[in-house]
C-alpha cells in the first residue's frame, strides 16, 4: 500500500492492518487500562470517604450539611453531562431540581397529614380543599416514579421544542434561565396549592421513618451520598461509551455529526433529559435533609449556584462537578456564617476568575501539570476531553 510511505516511522509491528492496531494497543495497554479504570479507584476512595468515614467522624449537623451538598452535587453532575460534555449551558436546572423536590415534599406533607388528611398550609391559605393532583403523591411508589418520570417528560417536551429548532449556545442558556424564573414565579403565584413563597416545610416522617431520629437522618444522608457514588459510576461508563464520544463530538462539531448519519438534536436531547432526572433526584434528596423546599431553590439564583460548582470543579471532568458542588456548598455555609455579604462577592468573583483564568475548572490543572512534567506527547487511548477549548488556547489572551 503506497499510502503508508507518507506516514511517519512505519514500525515493524505495524505492517499489517489488523495486527498493527492490536500491536499498538498491547504496548500501551497498561497505561491505557489505568487511565480507563483509574477513575473507578477514585470513586471507590470517594465512596469510602462519604459512606464510611463521614458518618463516623462528622457531627449530625455537619453530616446534614454534607448531605445537602450531595443533593446539590447530583444536580451539578447532570449539568456536567449536559454542559461539559454536551455543550449545552443549562441555567435553569432549578426547574427539574424543584420538580423532584416538590414531588418528595408533597408526599412527605401528605404523610404528616395522615391518611385522608389535608396539608396544614392549605387550611391556612385556602379553604382546606386539596387539589386532586396532590392525591397520587400520597403513595410512596408513585412519588418515586414521579420523581423520575415527570422531569423526563418535561425535559423531553422542552428539549425537543428547543433543540429540534436548533436553538443553541447563548439563546439556549437564556431560555433555560427564563424557564427557571417562570417556574419559580408560578410556584409563588399558587400559594394555595404549593405553599407559594414559603414553600413546603414542617415534615415529620420520611417514608414512615421518623425524621427527628438521628439514625434515620444518617441513613438518609447515606442514601444521598450513595446516589452520588452510583451516578458517578453511571457517568463514568457513559463518558467512556460510544454515546459519550458521540456527545463530545456533537459538542465540538455539531454539523459534522449530521454527516455521520446522526441527528445532533437527539444526541443532545438524551443528555438534557438525563441531566433533568439527575437534578430531580437531587432535589428529592434535598427535601428530607434540609427540611424545606421553596421557590428560592428553583429560581434563577439557585440555578446559577448549581452551575458555579460545575464551573469551579471542571465541567467536562468526571469528578469536577460533584466535588465543585460540594466545595461551593461548603464555602457558602462557612462563609455566609462569618461573612454574609462577602459570600456574594466571593461567588461573583468565582465566576469571573474561573471563567477568565481557568475555564476548565480545577480539574484542568491536572492535565496542565501532567503535560508540564512529561515532554512526551500522550497518545489518546481514551478521548482527550477538555472542555471544547482549542488545544493551545492560552487561558488568558494576554
Amino acid at each position: 500500500m503506497t499510502a503508508k510511505e507518507s506516514s511517519d516511522q512505519p514500525d515493524a509491528e505495524h505492517r499489517h492492518g489488523a495486527q498493527g492496531a492490536a500491536g499498538a494497543r498491547s504496548t500501551s495497554s497498561l497505561a491505557q487500562r489505568l487511565s480507563t479504570y483509574g477513575p473507578l479507584i477514585g470513586i471507590a476512595v470517594l465512596a469510602f470517604l462519604l459512606l464510611v468515614w463521614a458518618p463516623n467522624s462528622l457531627s449530625t449537623f455537619r453530616l446534614g450539611n454534607l448531605g445537602r451538598y450531595c443533593a446539590l452535587a447530583l444536580a451539578s453532575m447532570g449539568i456536567g453531562l449536559a454542559w461539559g460534555r454536551g455543550g449545552m449551558l443549562v441555567l435553569g436546572q432549578g426547574v427539574f431540581f424543584g420538580l423532584g423536590a416538590y414531588a418528595m415534599a408533597m408526599h412527605m406533607k401528605l404523610e404528616v397529614a395522615g391518611p385522608g388528611g389535608v396539608p396544614d398550609f392549605m387550611m391556612l391559605y385556602g379553604d382546606g380543599t386539596m387539589p386532586s393532583w396532590w392525591e397520587p403523591f400520597r403513595s410512596g411508589p408513585f412519588t418515586l416514579f414521579a420523581i423520575v418520570a415527570v422531569p423526563l417528560v418535561v425535559s423531553f417536551l422542552l428539549g425537543y421544542a428547543i433543540l429540534k429548532r436548533r436553538v443553541k449556545g447563548s439563546y439556549f442558556a437564556i431560555l433555560t434561565q427564563a424557564m427557571a424564573v417562570a417556574f419559580a414565579t408560578l410556584l409563588i403565584a399558587t400559594i394555595k396549592q404549593t405553599g407559594g413563597f414559603n414553600g413546603l416545610n414542617t415534615f415529620s416522617t420520611f417514608f414512615g421513618h421518623n425524621l427527628y431520629n438521628p439514625e434515620v437522618q444518617t441513613n438518609i444522608y447515606r442514601l444521598a451520598a450513595g446516589l452520588v457514588i452510583v451516578f458517578l459510576v453511571i457517568l463514568w461508563q457513559l463518558y467512556r461509551s460510544r454515546y459519550g464520544e458521540l456527545l463530545v463530538a456533537t459538542r465540538d462539531a455539531e454539523e459534522r455529526i449530521r454527516f455521520l448519519g446522526y441527528d445532533p438534536a437527539n444526541i443532545k436531547l438524551a443528555a438534557f433529559m438525563m441531566a433533568a432526572v439527575m437534578a430531580s433526584i437531587g432535589g428529592a434528596m434535598f427535601v428530607p435533609i434540609v427540611g424545606i423546599v421553596s421557590p428560592s431553590s428553583v429560581d434563577a439564583s439557585a440555578s446559577i449556584l448549581l452551575v458555579a460548582g460545575v464551573a469551579l470543579g471542571g465541567r467536562a471532568s468526571l469528578f469536577g462537578p460533584a466535588l465543585g458542588a460540594i466545595a461551593v456548598g461548603y464555602g457558602r455555609s462557612t462563609l455566609s456564617e462569618s461573612f454574609p455579604t462577602q459570600w456574594t462577592y466571593f461567588l461573583g468573583g468565582l465566576f469571573i476568575v474561573v471563567v477568565l483564568i481557568l475555564p476548565g475548572g480545577v480539574a484542568s490543572l491536572w492535565p496542565m501539570l501532567r503535560s508540564r512534567l512529561s515532554s512526551v506527547q500522550r497518545k489518546p487511548s481514551t478521548i482527550d476531553v477538555d472542555d471544547g477549548l482549542e488545544a493551545d488556547e492560552p487561558a488568558v489572551l494576554a
Binding site: I162, V167, A189, D299
Partner: protein, 336 residues
C-alpha cells in the same frame, strides 16, 4: 445571595396598572353591561392596559436597546446589563440628593446616568469581556458574576431597601386620554424611549462611528481589512449600550424608585425582547418590546400579575420555537 434576588416578580408592572384599575372595577349595578358608564368601563378595560402596556414596553425597549446592540454587534451576552439599569436609577437618586427633588434633577440625571453607566460598561469591556470574544457562554457566566458583585455593592452602599426618586411636578400630573387619566410619568417614559431609539438610529445611520459599527456587525473581518479598528468599535458599542441602559434606569426610578435587585427584574425580559425582535434589529426590538408590554398588561388585567408573567413567558417561548430567528433577521449575519 442577596436576600430577595430572583424572588422578585421578574417583570413587575403592578405599579402601572394600579392607577387605572380602581375605576374599572367599580360598577354601580354590579353588572357592567347594564351600567351607564359602560362606555367608560370598556374604555378602561381596553385603554388602561393598552396605555400602561405601552409604557411598560417603553421601559423594556430601553433595557433591550443596549442589549440588542451589544448582543447583535458583538455576540456578547452581558448578564450584568440589568445592573446598568440599576446604576442609572441610583444616579437619578443621587442627583436628587445633590440638587434637591426638582424637575431640574431629572434633566441632569439623564445625561449623567448615560455617561456613568456607559463608562461602567466600558470598564467591564476592558477588564473582563475583551478576553472572551470567541466564547459567548463564558462571557455569559463571567457577567453573571459581575452582576452578583454589582448587586451586592449596591446593597452594601445603599442598603437593601431601595430609595425613592421623586418625580418632578411637571411629571406628577395626568393627562386625560379617552377617559383614562394617564400619568405623565408613563407618557414621559414613552417619549424617552422613542427618543433614545431615534437617537440611536440616527447615530448608526448618519455618524462615522455609526457606520463603523454597522460595518463591524455585517462583516468584522472585512471591516478590519478596511482599517476599521474593531476593538475601538467594540468599546464604543459597549459604552453606548450600557449608557442606554442607564437612561432606562432613570425612567424606572421615576416609576418605582431604586432597588439593588432592580436589574434582576429586567434582565430576562430584556433578553427575551431582544431575541423575539431579532438580534441586532432595532425595529424588531421596538415591536417586540411594545407587544410584550401590552400583552403582559392585558394578561395582568384578566388574571393575576404573577400568572400573567408566566403566561407571557410561555407565549414568548412558543413564538421562539416557531420562529427562532425572531421577527426580523438580517441575511448577512448568521445567528447563534
Amino acid at each position: 445571595m442577596g436576600s430577595n434576588s430572583g424572588l422578585r416578580p421578574w417583570f413587575s408592572i403592578d405599579v402601572f396598572v394600579g392607577d387605572g384599575r380602581a375605576r374599572a372595577r367599580s360598577s354601580p349595578t354590579g353588572c357592567p353591561l347594564l351600567d351607564d358608564d359602560v362606555k367608560a368601563e370598556t374604555v378602561d378595560v381596553f385603554t388602561t392596559p393598552f396605555l400602561t402596556g405601552t409604557a411598560n414596553g417603553a421601559i423594556l425597549l430601553m433595557a433591550a436597546l443596549g442589549l440588542t446592540l451589544t448582543f447583535g454587534q458583538m455576540g456578547v451576552i452581558n448578564m450584568a446589563h440589568g445592573e446598568f439599569l440599576m446604576v442609572g436609577a441610583y444616579v437619578a437618586y443621587l442627583t436628587q440628593q445633590v440638587t434637591g427633588a426638582t424637575g431640574f434633577s431629572i434633566v441632569v440625571a439623564l445625561p449623567m446616568a448615560f455617561i456613568f453607566a456607559g463608562l461602567l460598561g466600558l470598564l467591564l469591556e476592558i477588564t473582563v469581556i475583551q478576553w472572551m470574544y470567541e466564547r459567548p457562554l463564558d462571557t455569559l457566566l463571567a457577567t453573571v458574576g459581575v452582576a452578583l458583585v454589582l448587586q451586592q455593592l449596591a446593597q452594601d452602599v445603599f442598603g437593601a431597601q431601595g430609595d425613592p426618586v421623586v418625580a418632578p411636578s411637571w411629571l406628577g400630573g395626568r393627562i386625560s386620554v379617552f377617559g383614562y387619566e394617564w400619568p405623565h410619568r408613563q407618557l414621559f417614559t414613552i417619549v424617552l424611549a422613542l427618543g433614545a431609539l431615534g437617537a440611536l438610529s440616527a447615530v448608526l445611520k448618519y455618524t462615522g462611528f455609526g457606520r463603523r459599527i454597522r460595518a463591524t456587525v455585517q462583516n468584522r473581518q472585512l471591516a478590519e481589512t478596511l482599517g476599521v479598528s474593531t476593538r475601538n468599535v467594540d468599546r464604543i458599542t459597549f459604552f453606548l449600550g450600557s449608557g442606554l441602559a442607564g437612561l432606562g434606569g432613570v425612567a424606572v426610578a421615576l416609576i418605582s424608585g431604586t432597588n439593588p435587585t432592580l436589574g434582576t427584574a429586567y434582565i430576562i425580559p430584556a433578553f427575551l425582547v431582544v431575541v423575539v425582535g431579532g438580534v441586532g434589529q432595532l425595529k424588531g426590538t421596538l415591536i417586540a418590546a411594545w407587544v410584550v408590554g401590552v400583552v403582559t398588561a392585558f394578561l395582568t388585567d384578566w388574571i393575576s400579575g404573577s400568572m400573567a408573567q408566566v403566561l407571557t413567558f410561555a407565549l414568548v417561548v412558543i413564538f421562539l420555537v416557531m420562529r427562532p430567528q425572531g421577527l426580523f433577521t438580517s441575511r448577512t449575519r448568521s445567528l447563534a
